[in-house]
């Protein structure tokens, strides 16, 4: 827990990093009345093999919900299913009040965006070009961006502190910078819901803390609903408002950070001997 203390001491200094100005968001306008994601009796998995059964929870506007659990508990599978990338094996997911199975792909794209661990492998694509892909759901057949689209692209990059990377090839920047660019891409999609799969991998402590403050700001100031899978419990404690714990193919617990992240329960969840935390 030495690292934890270090995080606590340093956190304040980075709280305001990479957050400047407010991007106009659909999420901040009148989205409060609809629950962004409602999950009922959800069964997920690959093929016919269920990884997680009978999950019930919702993701609310303006909160960061962290998914935690031991390896193989289905964190990523759950996230991919929420992102409509995997078919549901049972139950229902409502995105902004509509059944996700009945929504067209472009409608899903306009209200939900994704941030993945894997970095896209590109050659010449500049950061600005990469971010601009976030506007595709709003463009026509050829994917040409309007002036308005470009200004949203630039505003997103500005907001994530990636404006100075605009014309640099994505391939040539550091992992921490890639994180900012990919977040800008997710943001310029103007989503109500932002899903992040292990966003903290690859990052050193400085960028991890920057990520935490960015997520909090996006949720609390821009009213995004954020779902994030995280390994590091220290980051969960810092970033999340609520936590959902997966274990043995089911949702074990849902609750506030304080009620979940007790040493006693964490030992249970990860199968550690009592007293090891």
């Amino acid at each position: 827990m030495i690292a934890s203390n270090f995080l606590t001491n340093k956190a304040k200094a980075y709280d305001s990093i990479s957050y400047s100005g407010k991007l106009s968001h659909k999420g901040s306008q009148g989205a409060g009345c609809v629950t962004p994601i409602t999950v009922r009796g959800l069964t997920i998995g690959y093929g016919s093999k269920a990884v997680l059964k009978d999950a019930d929870f919702e993701v609310r506007t303006g909160e960061v919900l962290a998914i935690i659990g031991p390896n193989g508990a289905g964190k990523s599978t759950l996230l991919k299913t929420l992102a409509a990338q995997l078919p549901l094996l049972g139950g229902q997911i409502s995105l902004m009040g509509s059944d996700i199975r009945k929504l067209r792909p472009e409608d899903i794209a306009r209200s939900l965006s994704l941030f993945l661990t894997d970095r896209p492998s590109t050659e010449w694509m500049t950061c600005r070009e990469l971010v601009s892909a976030g506007r595709y759901p709003y463009t026509g057949r050829l994917g040409l961006l309007s002036e308005a689209d470009w200004s949203i692209v630039d505003a997103s990059m500005e907001k994530m502190g990636a404006a100075d990377l605009s014309d640099i090839p994505f391939n040539n920047i550091s992992d921490g910078q890639k994180q900012r660019v990919l977040l800008a891409r997710a943001l310029c999609q103007e989503p109500n819901v932002l899903l992040l799969d292990e966003p903290a991998s690859f990052l050193d402590i400085r960028f991890q803390l920057e990520l935490v403050s960015t997520l909090k700001n996006l949720a609390h100031c821009d009213n995004l609903a954020i779902v994030v899978t995280l390994h590091e419990l220290d980051l969960v404690r810092r970033a999340a408002d609520r936590v959902i714990c997966l274990r043995d193919g089911r949702v074990d617990r849902i609750g506030t950070v304080d009620s979940i992240l007790t040493n006693h329960y964490m030992e249970q969840l990860y199968g550690l001997p009592a007293g090891s935390l």
């Binding site: 990338q85 939900l112 894997d118 896209p120 694509m125 892909a133 595709y136």
Partner: protein
């Protein structure tokens, strides 16, 4: 934007210059002014027959098919997210050649010659079959080397079978067949060109209309899905289009090696972007110019002996492939 304009102008200029060179240079030198009079004023001189029946259709075919091959290469590179994928490297050209050889020999033994359309169709079946094999073998492997090794092996198997068929095919036309299996633009007719124009241009237009999903797919399948792209349908369209384009090339000119890898790479470098909207037309122009240059060299270097087109494209293309691989390896080592 300025860079794009300049680069397109350079490409257009090169394409035009090479087209002219291909018309004037050869066993007999025909001055440009005379070529102009023959083509645009329909002047009847001694050289008219040479230009109209041999050089002009051949140059048009080299340009069209070279462009088609470069576009096919770019589509495959996008699909496999692999910069050295291409119709030849993945064995798709060789598969197409095998089915065309089978169709030709069957037709010849029945005493008739295949029409252009039948050749394209036979090649398309072969392309799709090889593509299917590559997809099965590579499975979900995203490893660049494994994919290429699979493709090369499929290419060898198809080539061996083609050689077998050619060796034992018993016909006087075997000489033609033999030339064709090595890759060549000689003997192009206007009938061939009338058949390839609609195929190439329709496939090209449809590819261009896929620019947006292609750009999204360059970020990877998951991001493409998240951007509202129906990736299953998109991949299907991409496979069919690249197969049609490579089939059309193989049907008329036989296998042409490495052009499908080299041309897109050079274009991305010239334009300093990989945006499909910009690069697709560039690939067509660049591939056309590259192919005209290679055919010019193939025809004239050891005239009257003609080199296979693949001999020339390999000399230029293979080093580029090696360069890309080395660069990738270096980059991979640096980032890990």
């Amino acid at each position: 934007m300025k860079r794009y304009h300049a680069a397109y102008s350079i490409l257009g200029g090169m394409l035009f210059a090479l087209l002219v060179l291909n018309l004037i240079i050869g066993s007999v030198y025909v001055p440009p002014s005379q070529v102009f009079r023959i083509i645009f004023l329909r002047q009847e001189t001694d050289a008219a027959a040479l230009i109209w029946t041999i050089r002009f259709p051949r140059a048009i075919a080299a340009a069209l098919l070279g462009g088609a091959l470069a576009v096919a290469g770019f589509l495959l590179q996008t699909f496999f997210s692999n910069p050295i994928a291409g119709p030849f490297v993945l064995g798709i050209s060789s598969g197409a050649r095998l089915t065309v050889a089978i169709a030709m020999v069957t037709a010849l033994s029945a005493g008739r010659i295949l029409s252009s359309w039948e050749m394209i169709f036979a090649a398309f079946i072969g392309s799709l079959a090889s593509m299917g094999l590559v997809l099965i073998f590579s499975g979900r492997v995203r490893n660049m080397s494994v994919l290429i090794v699979c493709g090369i092996m499929i290419g060898y198997i198809c080539t061996a079978m083609t050689d077998f068929i050619v060796t034992f095919a018993d016909d006087t036309n075997i000489v033609n067949l033999h030339n064709w299996t090595k890759g060549s633009f000689s003997g192009m007719t206007w009938g061939n060109i009338r058949a390839m124009i609609p195929v190439v241009f329709i496939a090209l237009l449809l590819s261009f209309l896929l620019s947006k999903p292609m750009a999204a797919y360059q970020l990877g399948e998951s991001y493409a899905k998240n951007l509202g792209i129906d990736t299953g349908r998109f991949c299907f369209e991409l496979i069919v289009l690249s197969s049609i384009l490579s089939a059309c090339v193989t049907a008329f000119a036989g296998p042409i090696s490495f052009l499908g890898v080299a041309a897109p790479h050079l274009m991305k470098r010239l334009f300093r972007t990989e945006r499909p909207l910009i690069i697709l037309p560039a690939c067509f122009l660049g591939g056309a110019a590259f192919c005209l240059l290679c055919d010019l060299i193939a025809r004239t270097l050891f005239s009257p002996t003609e080199l296979n087109i693949s001999t020339v494209t390999s000399v230029f293309g293979a080093p580029i492939v090696i360069y890309i691989m080395l660069q990738r390896t270096k980059r991979g080592a640096a980032s890990s």
